[in-house]
């Protein structure tokens, strides 16, 4: 399954939900971790931490994984 993560196409993703995706892409070590500094949106809708495992991914979903940065 191909996804677009942070604007880049990732051609072969095996993760079926957000929790697995975060582990597959190295954001966490174990599926199920919910790092407090991350926020995830799929197709421009927030996915809350509690829903990482429940939120299933579809091909061509656009995923944003954001974290804090300096800002004005």
């Amino acid at each position: 399954m191909q996804l677009i993560v942070n604007g880049a196409e990732i051609p072969e993703v095996s993760a079926r939900n957000v929790a697995e995706l975060l582990r597959e892409l190295g954001y966490v070590e174990h599926a199920g971790e919910t790092p407090p500094h991350l926020a995830v949106a799929v197709n421009r809708e927030l996915v809350r931490r509690a829903e990482y495992a429940a939120h299933e991914l579809s091909a061509d979903d656009e995923v944003e994984v954001l974290a804090p940065m300096a800002g004005g």
Partner: protein, 270 residues
């Protein structure tokens, strides 16, 4: 007396603060300089942003931990968003990360001036207020847009002084003066365009409740000292406003009284 003044507190969106300066966290030479600037400024609120995090990258986590140790309130922004939809999603993601309903709402409408888009701004504000956010809208000095924002539930308004990062100060002070007159109940913060401490003082003298700035501190030769300077300037301007400033006069008026001046023509006393 002056010590008491310095510790006078105010309330921003329900939070009690001692300083009326809000400080951005971008463009500092180092995290250490940022941390020292925050402390030197006396601010109780810093703005931050959200950006794409790489898997395995730890930048975001480090900055997240860094922010926590600053021990100040976090005001996340939606910088870079160009539509109401983007801004709303970013706001929701920011709430997830920072666990705060506060959001500095930016919806940019023009690349040259980084001017906020009044249409997208009102739309996004309406959605966010309904969803429980405390919206800090970054806006122009347009009174009608401000009225709309108030109508959709904003209690805070943040008109710009001048385009972001321009450092020009208050491009249209009369427009800001009208803001204060028109919105006596709202919390008013000048956001963007401030380049010098005197600009910040001037904004406060107009009766604004606070000033938000970033570049003027971050790119100074000595950001930490500049942060302190802005902290003082905001206090100076606020105290000036509270103390009731003199009216401007066209004609000069001696401060030293003229009665009893020596060497003047003499009166005959019999």
């Amino acid at each position: 007396m002056s010590e008491e003044m310095i510790t006078t507190s105010w309330t921003l969106a329900g939070k009690t603060l001692s300083s009326r300066l809000l400080l951005g966290t971008a463009r500092y030479p180092s995290p250490a300089a940022l941390a020292a600037s925050v402390r030197a400024s006396g601010t109780g609120v810093v703005t931050v942003s959200l950006r794409r995090e790489t898997g395995g990258g730890g930048d975001g986590r480090r900055f997240f931990d860094f922010l926590r140790q600053l021990d100040v309130a976090i005001l996340p922004n939606t910088a870079g968003c160009r539509s109401a939809k983007e801004a709303v999603t970013t706001a929701m993601m920011a709430r997830e990360v920072f666990d705060t309903p506060w959001i500095k709402l930016e919806v940019i409408g023009d690349d040259f001036t980084l001017q906020p888009d009044p249409f997208g701004l009102v739309d996004a504000a309406q959605i966010l207020v309904r969803d429980g956010f405390e919206v800090f809208p970054y806006m122009t000095d347009d009174l009608v847009v401000a009225q709309r924002l108030v109508e959709v539930g904003c209690k805070i308004l943040m008109p710009w002084g001048a385009p972001i990062g321009s450092g020009r100060g208050l491009a249209n002070p009369e427009a800001l003066r009208a803001f204060r007159l028109r919105f006596p109940e709202q919390t008013l913060v000048v956001d963007a365009g401030i380049g010098r401490p005197s600009h910040a003082a001037q904004a406060m003298e107009l009766g604004f409740d606070g000033v938000l700035l970033n570049t003027a501190v971050a790119v100074a030769h000595d950001p930490v000292k500049m942060a302190g300077a802005f902290g003082e300037a905001v206090r100076a301007g606020r105290h000036g406003f509270e103390a009731g400033m003199m009216a401007t006069r066209v004609k000069a008026e001696a401060s030293t009284p003229v009665v009893g001046a020596p060497f003047r023509g003499h009166l005959r006393v019999d």
